[in-house]
């Protein structure tokens, strides 16, 4: 059952939220030992939330659009009194004194928060292999990674541990694992969902978004968590456009561009698998058959996105992660002086990838290198915004693959950081521009594993990109993506 169907059944009194919860807890009990989607299953909290939903229905009150729907929450999202680890040793034992806004909004919508999901430490990675608590496995093939950094959330939805999950996306951390796990994942417009209580990685790029098994479910979740929040000063003040209302409007007359540099075109990025290109081409053909006007569109600076991102994101991370110093929360390693204590705590608490990015960012911001690296990367960001603006004068949406390959094996890309970083090449430009993007499953690769196609649009075009994704979902469900 989809989240929309479950919620309707609970609201109508046909299903009890407690029964729905028990069904999902049983699946977690049966299979999460193998998958490791969760760092923590919050069964007691979920049960009390489910009981409250059932009481509300019994008393004739509407619990909300997510009534009784289990939702898994990425473990970099603060939950009051419940461990929130970022899959890092440095937050060992920490219990947040407040809820993230999205957590409060989930509860207000009647959702049942079933647990905290695994991630690459501090959301830095593309495979969940950087988790301090061990990797998550891909439910489609447990010898493969689920993608990352929100690999636990993607796997939880793919394994039917929860119909919905919350992730965060700084360079593709929702869309890439969604593609590798065969589920829907979206990064909303920057500022569309409050970041209050999302533990910061790179503040100008981070955005919270939904995972679901269907485009409509992702839309309901996004509508439930989105909208202005005075506690996030970067939150968009204008009301969010309704996505669900627009979902079945189709693509007749819509102008669809293939972003050539990220879709195997000449002069574009290399390393995108032929089977991934083939599915993307097939998706575009399906949109054309459904009435879209298709053209090829160039976004030249998209090829510079990866380099610019791996200067900007580490620079912001090096600043954001300076707060972990052993003074106010988490791990402290005792030492004779405060300076030595700071260093000992950070050295023991952070894993290698986090240290690598902190050092890369510190280097890019340091005297003598600031202009050459960080300063230039910010100018590339301007070029990307300009190129997207020009593209969106010609087309309404752009289409690319989500990930260059299907799910890869454990250890395949851990020796060389660049080999891992290129997984984000198609997703990063949207974070640099702040624009929304959605990944929708569209067929499988030569290895039988899921492939995702990505739809990009200008700021606040969620209704449009979700409706395009809905068309592709429909085509794929009818066998048109083989």
């Amino acid at each position: 059952m989809t989240a929309i169907e479950l919620s309707a059944a609970v609201r109508a009194g046909e299903r009890s939220a407690v029964d729905v919860l028990d069904e999902h807890l049983a699946r977690i009990e049966e299979r999460d030992g193998e998958i490791h989607a969760f760092n923590l299953v919050t069964a007691d909290l979920a049960r009390s939330q489910a009981e409250a939903v059932d009481s509300a229905v019994a008393e004739g009150r509407d619990p909300g659009p997510l009534a009784g729907v289990p939702v898994a929450v990425k473990d970099n999202t603060c939950t009051r009194g419940i461990p929130t680890t970022c899959s890092s040793r440095i937050l060992d034992g920490w219990l947040p004194p407040y809820n993230a806004t999205v957590v409060d909004r989930l509860a207000a919508a009647g959702a049942v928060t079933i647990g905290k999901t695994n991630l690459d430490e501090f959301a830095m990675g593309s495979s969940t292999e950087n988790s301090a608590f061990g990797p998550t496995r891909n439910p489609h093939d447990t010898s493969k990674v689920p993608g990352g950094s929100s690999g636990g959330s993607a796997a939880a939805v793919a394994a039917a541990f929860a119909p919905l999950a919350i992730g965060s996306d700084t360079g593709g951390s929702i869309r890439q694992p969604a593609a590798l796990c065969g589920v829907v994942g979206a990064k909303p417009t920057y500022g569309a969902v409050s970041r209050y209580g999302l533990i910061a990685f790179a503040s100008s790029l981070d955005q919270i978004g939904p995972f679901a098994t269907t485009v409509a479910d992702a839309a309901v979740l996004l509508e439930s968590i989105g909208g202005h929040d005075p506690r996030d000063s970067t939150s968009i003040e204008a009301p969010a456009p309704s996505i669900l209302d627009a979902l079945d409007r189709g693509v007749d007359g819509l102008r669809v561009g293939v972003l050539t540099e990220l879709a195997g075109g000449p002069g574009g990025v290399e390393g995108i698998s032929p089977d991934v290109i083939a599915r993307t081409t097939q998706a575009v053909a399906a949109l054309e058959a459904a009435g879209a006007e298709v053209s090829e569109v160039s976004v030249p600076s998209a090829t510079l996105g990866l380099s610019a991102y791996y200067l900007i994101a580490p620079a912001e991370a090096s600043s954001n992660l300076s707060r972990y110093d052993g003074v106010r929360y988490g791990l402290r390693v005792d030492a004779p002086t405060t300076g030595e204590m700071n260093t000992a705590s950070r050295s023991a608490g952070f894993g290698d990838e986090v240290k690598r990015r902190i050092m890369l960012g510190t280097y890019a911001l340091s005297a003598g290198y600031y202009d050459a690296f960080y300063g230039k990367a910010l100018k590339v960001r301007t070029l990307i915004l300009r190129d997207f603006a020009a593209a969106y004068e010609k087309v309404d949406v752009l289409v690319t693959p989500t990930s260059p390959t299907t799910a890869f094996g454990f250890g395949d890309k851990t020796a060389d950081p660049m080999a891992m970083y290129v997984n984000d090449v198609c997703t990063i430009p949207s974070n640099l521009s702040g624009h929304p993007a959605i990944s929708v499953p569209f067929g499988v690769g030569d290895d039988g594993l899921p492939i995702g196609v990505q739809i990009l649009g200008p700021a606040q075009s969620e209704p449009t990109i979700f409706s395009v994704a809905a068309v592709l979902e429909d085509v794929a469900s009818k066998g048109g993506a083989r």
Partner: protein, 100 residues
């Protein structure tokens, strides 16, 4: 390749970032950071003098709120999360007398 960044620079950057590295970690990070900086050469070599920088995707201005008193997070609840707190304060080892 590793002339993009030297061992000494890695040790210096680690010190700035308050990280202590074992000698084999310095070797590994020097090699890995050099690979990333090698890739960043496409950005470093751009002629973009006339392009303004963008630090943020939204055209943000200062956000103000009404000067109204609202509840804050409970002090004791915050201090309860500290590794060491005393008399409503965070307790740390000696700071004075350290080298800068």
């Amino acid at each position: 390749m590793s002339d993009r960044i030297t061992r000494d620079e890695v040790i210096h950057v680690a010190r700035l970032a308050r990280l202590e590295l074992a000698p084999d970690e310095v070797d590994a990070f020097t090699e890995q950071l050099a690979r990333v900086l090698e890739h960043a050469a496409d950005v470093e070599s751009l002629e973009v003098d006339d392009v303004p920088p963008t630090s943020h995707p939204l055209p943000l201005v200062n956000v103000f709120r009404a000067d109204e008193i609202t509840p804050s997070i409970d002090r004791d609840e915050v201090l309860a999360q500290a590794p060491f707190a005393e008399d409503h304060m965070f307790r740390v080892p000696p700071v004075l007398g350290e080298e800068p």
